[in-house]
């Protein structure tokens, strides 16, 4: 892409990471692109594709152990790859600024947010005193923060995630840099908040003349706010060009995989129809409140995490639980699995009450798969042991029989049997999660609780893991409590759904009915945000109509 007068011009950039052994690995390999003033480039790729390393290099920064091996990064004609550290430092914040992924860790926790914006103005723009304060408040106001004057006096922990990200944006834009680099700017946010922050970024893009680079694993974000896209894999550029062209007619197979893997609500559901069979689990008026244990008694804190929760799961049925972070859905999973005990109400499982103390049979019949696949496997034990142990505990198999059964479970989940001997870190995220699923199914449970099991996985792996999970679930006729914030996962898998907010159930019913005709205003917003993202992600259709 040759641009007449680019702000940023990257040529044949290669970045090498040196392992302690001395061998080098190219994490960015021969990347070239130009960016005109006002243009927005989306760099998309899965984890490990080198996109974040590239983003840092645009600020002239390399992680320890890595170095720019070849190529140039010309920002307004000056080469950042060959600039002395002092000159780079003077440039950062003024000419090029960055918005990192996690807004909480990028703000100083003991400074009022207004002061943090002022600090940038003082150090980078040379403005101080009352003038800096005014400009800081104006900037915060510009970021769409309500009552900026009062908000400026708050500390980062007193703000919501979306508000924090707006403050970070204000800091980055304080000196109106020629280039703004955003690294996964919305990954840490809820769907609704994400849509709002993306709208802000879209507005800023139009208002400002500076160029933007947005690094993301989420193609919906690219479709939503970028005009150019670059798809990376293993440090190389797979495909680049205007968003319109790449999304409508992707040339490379990998791009097509990424586009196809972005799960969308408009896809056909694979969930089985609701089964009016035997009730497996019944929750009646469940209430729960987190307590802070002190030496003498337990003290309740804040409002209840869960209040008046009631639902049923039938044998072999998949029930989806949707909610944003803080809705209490993970706590609900903890209650069902027995990690927590309810303060009010009761759970009835297979006709017997479920307490915190459970019989071995009850423990065997309710299993769980966790969110983070790596942390759900003991890093110092071979993954096979994770599956063999429950087989021996629950089915009393001897070691040899347990190994054979574990190998069969691995095979059913598409894992090679020799992976049994590996350690968790030697497996990919998708493999780790399938091992965790194998461990859960080893017990042959009647109910499986899945807590956000795909949110830590790359898009192309998510579908694969869900397919294997669904196949296993059908094979063993296991009921599932599927907890997620991802509406498309629920749409694909669950026959009935429960929508939660602030510890209460707002709406419940058959998935198709709730998705097509949501009754509660909150559900409507939630689905609206998702369908906006889905519409943006469904760029092919939309763009074809737009161009046609």
């Amino acid at each position: 892409m040759a641009v007449a007068d680019p702000v940023l011009s990257v040529r044949d950039l290669s970045i090498t990471w040196r392992t302690p052994g001395g061998a080098g690995r190219r994490v960015v390999d021969g990347v070239s692109f130009d960016l005109a003033p006002g243009a927005t480039l989306g760099i998309a790729g899965e984890s490990g594709s080198g996109k974040s390393t590239l983003a840092r290099a645009l600020l002239g920064h390399c992680r320890p152990g890595s170095a720019i091996e070849a190529g140039s990064i010309l920002l307004d004609g000056r080469d950042l790859a060959r600039m002395p550290p002092a000159a780079l430092d003077a440039l950062r914040g003024r000419e090029v600024a960055m918005v990192p992924q996690n807004p909480l860790s990028s703000l100083t926790f003991h400074m009022r947010v207004g002061q943090q914006v002022e600090e940038v103005l003082r150090l980078r723009a040379g403005v101080s005193g009352a003038q800096a304060r005014q400009r800081a408040i104006a900037l915060l106001d510009d970021m769409g923060l309500p009552d900026a004057e009062r908000l400026a006096r708050r500390y980062p922990h007193q703000l919501s995630g979306g508000q924090r990200q707006r403050v970070v944006l204000a800091c980055a834009l304080a000196c109106d840099p020629a280039l703004l680099v955003l690294d996964e700017p919305t990954t840490a946010l809820d769907k609704t908040t994400e849509a709002q922050v993306l709208a802000l970024i879209r507005r800023l893009r139009v208002a400002r003349r500076g160029a933007m680079v947005i690094v993301t694993h989420d193609l919906n974000v690219v479709a939503d706010i970028c005009d150019q896209v670059m798809v990376m894999q293993h440090g190389r550029v797979v495909e680049q060009g205007p968003v319109r062209n790449v999304f409508v007619t992707p040339r490379e197979a990998y791009t097509r995989i990424l586009l196809g893997a972005a799960l969308r609500v408009d896809e056909a559901s694979r969930a089985s129809p609701p089964q009016p069979g035997e009730v497996l689990l019944r929750a009646e008026g469940i209430g729960f409140r987190y307590t802070r244990p002190t030496l003498l008694r337990r003290r309740a804190q804040g409002p209840p995490t869960l209040a008046d929760i009631g639902f049923t799961i039938h044998r072999g049925e998949v029930l989806g639980v949707i909610g944003e972070s803080g809705s209490g859905k993970t706590t609900l999973g903890g209650l069902v699995t027995g990690l927590l005990a309810p303060d009010e109400g009761r759970l009835v499982f297979e006709g017997a009450a479920l307490g915190i103390r459970r019989s071995a049979a009850q423990r065997q019949r309710i299993q769980m798969v966790f969110q983070d696949p790596l942390s759900s496997l003991n890093p110092r034990r071979r993954v096979g042991e994770a599956v063999i142990r429950p087989l021996r505990l629950f089915h009393g198999l001897d070691h040899r029989a347990a190994v054979a059964r574990a190998a069969r479970l691995f095979e059913e989940l598409g894992l090679e049997a020799d992976l049994l001997e590996r350690f968790p870190r030697q497996l990919s995220g998708g493999q780790q999660q399938r091992v965790a699923i194998a461990r859960a199914f080893a017990a042959e449970p009647a109910l499986l609780v899945c807590d956000e099991i795909t949110s830590a996985l790359d898009a192309s792996v998510q579908a694969q893991v869900l397919d294997h999970l669904l196949a296993m679930q059908r094979r063993q006729n296991t009921a599932m409590l599927l907890i997620t914030h991802d509406l498309s996962v629920v749409w694909r898998m669950a026959s009935r759904v429960v929508v939660m907010q602030n510890g209460r159930i707002l709406e419940a019913g058959e998935t198709a009915a709730v998705f097509q005709d949501p009754q509660d205003p909150y559900t409507q917003t939630l689905l609206g945000a998702a369908s906006r993202a889905a519409r943006a992600g469904d760029a092919r259709a939309e763009l074809i109509t737009a161009t046609g």
Binding site: G338, R389, R425, R439
Partner: protein
């Protein structure tokens, strides 16, 4: 392991520790004189016969120096070992059980930390007698407190991990969770703690001997040698400097080795254990 061997300071530390251990073990065979025999030649200056001269009772200072680490190292290393083993089990069990057990244990640790170390040992030794086993127990208890706190903190983080929860959901008992799930994940911490506790125990033992609360005369010991030589610091400074140097070189060596170990383990974690 390779990363460990490429650090010169770590290598120096390991070499010095091994050297000290070798000398301590071989002292009966390599010492030129018996460390406790009175040679009827007090306060000889260093020379060909008595390499570091003789002390005020006429004992060969060089032989005493070679012998002087034996008991102190024995006490320091065994106390370090007991402290790490006991402290880790206590710390991890506290992280596992939390609640009242955890509270009581932590209050005990804090109470111990509030009592001056020397006073604690003085009371202990007065009560149980000034023998090497009593000394090992006393020093172990002192060193254990820090280990309880670090391993408890690590354990609390581990308790949140999915694999611990999975084990609990499968009905594994407390001992199984602590030993099978938690312990393997704090082995690196234990190795580093052992090195730190052993070096700190060595300093403590020497200080106790110096004060007359540790190893009793006539056993040759560095701390005792420093104490004996203090009166002669102006005329025969080598009688103090040599054992002092022996203590500090071993403490320094253990710390260098520990630091290298810590970094090597940290590096392993960052590299993903070869994944």
């Amino acid at each position: 392991m390779k990363a460990l061997l490429r650090r010169p300071m770590t290598l120096l530390g390991i070499a010095l520790v091994l050297g000290h251990l070798a000398i301590a073990l071989a002292a009966p065979w390599i010492a030129p004189h018996t460390p406790t025999s009175l040679l009827d030649a007090p306060l000889e200056p260093p020379g060909a016969t008595y390499w570091l001269g003789t002390d005020d009772l006429g004992r060969d200072a060089f032989s005493r120096l070679l012998w002087g680490g034996r008991v102190a190292i024995l006490v320091a290393f065994s106390a370090g070992g007991f402290a790490v083993l006991g402290g880790t089990l206590l710390g991890l069990s506290a992280a596992y059980r939390r609640g009242a057990y955890d509270d009581v244990l932590l209050r005990l640790v804090e109470m111990k930390l509030a009592v001056p170390t020397i006073l604690f040992v003085a009371i202990f030794v007065t009560g149980f007698g000034q023998t090497v086993p009593v000394l090992i127990v006393a020093v172990s208890i002192i060193q254990m407190m820090g280990v309880v706190r670090t391993t408890r903190a690590a354990g609390i983080v581990l308790m949140e991990q999915g694999y611990v929860r999975a084990a609990q959901l499968n009905g594994e008992g407390g001992a199984a969770v602590v030993v099978r799930e938690l312990l393997p994940n704090v082995l690196d911490l234990m190795a580093v703690e052992f090195a730190l506790r052993a070096s700190s125990a060595l300093l403590l033992v020497s200080a106790l001997s110096f004060l007359g609360l540790g190893i009793s005369p006539p056993t040759p010991d560095w701390g005792l040698m420093v104490e004996d030589g203090m009166a002669l610091l102006n005329s025969e400074p080598w009688l103090v400097l040599a054992p002092a140097l022996a203590i500090s070189s071993l403490v320094l060596a253990i710390n260098l080795a520990a630091e290298g170990l810590a970094e090597a383990f940290g590096l392993d974690a960052a590299r993903g254990g070869g994944g």
